[in-house]
Structures are given as C-alpha cells and as structure tokens.
C-alpha cells in the first residue's frame, strides 16, 4: 500500500498565515500545501501563463514551483515574504523557460500560434464578475500613476516582459525601468491601501 502524506487534523490551518503554513509545510503537512495552492495557485498560474503564453507550460511550471516548495521546504530559508517569493520565482523561471524555448525550438516558432494549447477553462460568470471588479480597481489605480510608471508595471506584470525587454520596448535605460517600477509600486501602495482604509471606514 502506498504511504499517505501526513495530514493536519486541524481546520485551523485554513485561517493560518502564509508564514505559519510554510512552517507546517516544513513539517511535511500536505494540508498546508493544499491551502497554499488554493491561496496562491491562481497568481502563480496566471503570471506563468502571461509570460509563457501556453497553458500546458504554465501548468507544468505551476506544478514545478509548488512541488519544489514541498520537496525543499525543510531546507529552504524561511519564506518570510511568501507572495514576493512566489512572484520572483515564477517570473524568473518562466522567463528562463521562454529563453530556453526560443533557443531550442526557434524554427518551430512559426507554428507558435497553432501550437498554443488553449485548454484553459472558460471562467464562470461569477469568476468573470469578480475579475472585472478586481481589474477595474487596478486599472483605476494605475491611471493615477505617471505614464512611465504605469507602462513599466503593466509591461512587467501584465505582459510578462523582463526588465531588459521593457527597456528595449520603451527605449529607456534599464536604470529608469527599475526606478519607475519602484516608484510606481510605492505610489500604488498609497492609492490602493488608502482606498482599502477608506472603504473599511
């Protein structure tokens, strides 16, 4: 009989912080892996799909990232900032894969459009409405930024471009891409978190 993964008996894990879940993961608790995926799987898969533009490859990369978390949890340094960690790892690995694909299968590129495996499920009406609401909120916030800051953030996180690709696309120095991304994020913090506070009040 195949051994089963250790499972937490506690429902409390559903309410645990990412940091606490990561500790549970270190202790081999498969329930923690499941909850982390439910919380962040969409972010990882969505970002991977934007960069790779191929649902099968995005699925493979998402699987690879969560399995690496599971396999190396006990040897990883503490993931204190878990979302940052996931975004960084997903972007970096997806961009690496894109480069490898470009190098190795350059002559197949002309089939790219045909090869794209559009097996991504259509969102349900509820999911569509939820996305429309989130999207509108972010677009409103982005439109309050200076154009360059908005462009670099959209190109990085909506188009999945690397910083050097953004510099080339916008014809600006790499240093400007970096400073605009940082300043843009700091301004978005004021806009989005202030609006959170106002809506809470």
């Amino acid at each position: 009989m195949e051994p089963k993964l250790p499972q937490s008996n506690s429902q409390e894990l559903s309410f645990a912080t990412d940091e606490a879940l990561f500790v549970a993961l270190k202790n081999g608790d498969a329930q923690a892996l499941s909850i982390l995926f439910k919380r962040h799987g969409r972010l990882v898969y969505g970002l991977a799909l934007k960069i790779l533009a191929n649902s099968q490859e995005a699925e493979d990369l998402t699987q690879e990232i969560f399995l690496t978390l599971w396999r190396k949890a006990s040897t990883n340094p503490d993931c204190r900032f878990f979302v940052r960690y996931l975004v960084t790892v997903t972007r970096s690995r997806a961009i690496d894969k894109l480069r490898a694909r470009t190098r190795q299968l350059k002559f197949v590129e002309k089939w790219g459009q045909t090869m794209t495996d559009d097996t991504t499920q259509e969102p349900t009406p509820v999911e569509q409405a939820s996305f429309a609401e989130r999207s509108q909120r972010i677009n409103n916030a982005l439109h309050q930024l200076p154009p360059k800051q908005r462009q670099v953030i959209e190109l990085a996180y909506n188009q999945g471009l690397s910083q050097s690709e953004i510099a080339k696309t916008l014809d600006i120095p790499l240093g400007t891409v970096k400073s605009s991304t940082r300043q843009g994020l700091l301004k978005l913090k004021q806009i989005l978190l202030n609006s959170d506070l106002l809506s809470y009040e």
């Binding site: 799987g41 969505g46 396999r71 972010i138 978190l193």
Partner: protein, 276 residues
C-alpha cells in the same frame, strides 16, 4: 546626510526588494537595515500586498481544476519514495499520446515540427523527474553520512551518550519530541539524533545549551537539514567540547528562542537530557 537613515531611500530599497530588482550591494544594505529595523517588515508586507493586488487585477484565469490533485499526487510520490520515475514517464507518455490526435489534426502540415515539440515536452518532464530523484538521492546521502558518523563514534570507548525527552507543556507542539546527543570530546565530534522535532514557529529558533554548575552555556542552534526525524553533526568549538568533560557538567537542554544570539536562555525549554 547618511542615506541609510533617509526614509525615502529606505522605502525605495523596500520596493526594489519586493519587485526583486536590487543590486547585490543594495540587497546586502537592505538585509542589514532589516536586521537593525525590524519595523521595516510592515512596509515590505504592505508593498507585497500591493503587488499581489496588481497581479490579481491582471489575472483573469483560474488554474485547471485537476492541477491541485496532480500536485498532491506528485508530493505523495516524493514522500513515499516510490519509483517515481517509471510511473511518471508512463503517465506522461499516456498524456502526450492522448493529446496527439488533436495536435496532429491541427498541425497536419508538419509532422517533423510536432515530433520536435513532443520530444521537448518529454525531455522537460524527464528533467523534472530527474530533479525529484536527485533530491531524494541527496537526502539519502545525507542520512548515510550521518549514520556513518554515529557508527564511528559508537565504536570509540570515550564516546558519551545523552538522551533527551520533551518537556511537556500546554501549547507546545514538541511534546512528542525525543532524541540523543552522541559526543566524543577526544575526537571533537558530536552528532544529534532526534525524532518528532517540528520546525520552529516563524521567528523562532531552537538553541542547545550545556548545563555546568547550574549555569546554562550556549552550544549553538539546532539546525538540521530537515525537520521531523533526522540526525546531524553539531558544529562545536573546542571550548564546547571541554564543557562536556567538565566535572560540574550535568546535562543538556534545548530551548525555543526568538533571538539566535542570546547568551542565556530566555525562552521555553522544549527538551532536556535525562541526566538533569
């Protein structure tokens, strides 16, 4: 003005940290700042939340429904140390074969290009499986090296053994932990073996202490290569080995601390040697 104390400069570094574009020098500077000013954690968490919301606003798709079960199945395979490779290759080949008719229908004009694509995917999956096996192999090598170290120590007449048991308390998930320290001051080697020792909670570390004349002296952090059940060689200084042959030596304790550098125990005792 010293830029390290300029709050705009620090915020700029924090944003660079969150989007992962710090230069190595900036990263080191920020690491030191974070050590000195733990309140920066709040700023990072806020910026991280903003990044999450931005990505959330850009993401209109949901991961495939079968992805989580697939990940859990793979995790199970890793845990069970089964012959992952054969099973995975078989599954993957079946999956690729399942997709073939549709792809063939679409790419009728180039069988060669399709074969190259399939080989690429297959190669990718094989590399994934190889990665799993390499990790498992590395773990087994570490286990073997520790077993050899323990065997070598047990063959020597000067070796001493200290067994640990958990100090039970409420709200303590180390209640089932136990272990031993095998030490040979002559050879200056020490190995700690334990079971059911969970990873410390966020922001905490386990510290080992010798007890000499009722005074607890630091012996370093308990930091094995994995948690739960494992063994590992302790990194001791000459002074620490001397403590074990000290006439007033009376045992060992393990405490749970928030600061790895405390000179005396401030936290809870989670395990203690049976001699105390």
């Amino acid at each position: 003005m010293n830029k390290s104390f300029d709050s705009e400069y620090i915020k700029n570094l924090a944003a660079g940290f969150v989007v992962d574009d710090l230069t190595p020098e900036e990263a080191e500077e920020f690491r030191l700042l974070l050590d000195e000013h733990p309140e920066l954690v709040g700023e990072i968490e806020d910026l991280q939340e903003v990044l999450r919301q931005v990505l959330d606003g850009f993401t209109s798709v949901e991961p495939p429904a079968n992805l989580l079960p697939k990940i859990l199945a793979q995790a199970n395979a890793v845990t069970s140390q089964a012959t992952v490779n054969n099973i995975q290759i078989k599954e993957n080949n079946q999956k690729i074969l399942g997709r073939l008719p549709r792809k063939l229908a679409i790419i009728t004009s180039s069988i060669a290009a399709l074969l190259v694509a399939i080989l690429g995917i297959d190669n990718f999956r094989l590399r994934q499986n190889l990665g799993l096996l390499n990790t498992e192999n590395q773990r087994l090598r570490q286990d073997f090296a520790q077993a050899q170290a323990v065997k070598s120590l047990l063959q020597n007449s000067q070796t001493r053994l200290f067994t640990f048991e958990a100090v039970n308390s409420r709200n303590n998930n180390t209640n089932n932990s136990s272990g031993s320290v095998i030490i040979n001051p002559q050879k200056q080697k020490a190995v700690m073996v334990f079971q059911n020792l969970p990873a410390p909670p966020p922001g905490h570390v386990y510290l080992l202490w010798t007890v000499i004349n009722n005074e607890k002296l630091p012996c370093g952090q308990v930091k094995p290569y994995s948690w739960g059940t494992a063994s590992y060689e302790l990194q001791f200084t000459n002074q620490m080995y001397k403590e074990f042959v000290h006439p007033q030596f009376s045992g060992l304790v393990v405490t749970l601390e928030t600061d790895a550098n405390v000179s005396r125990p401030m936290g809870t005792v989670v395990m203690q040697s049976l001699q105390i």
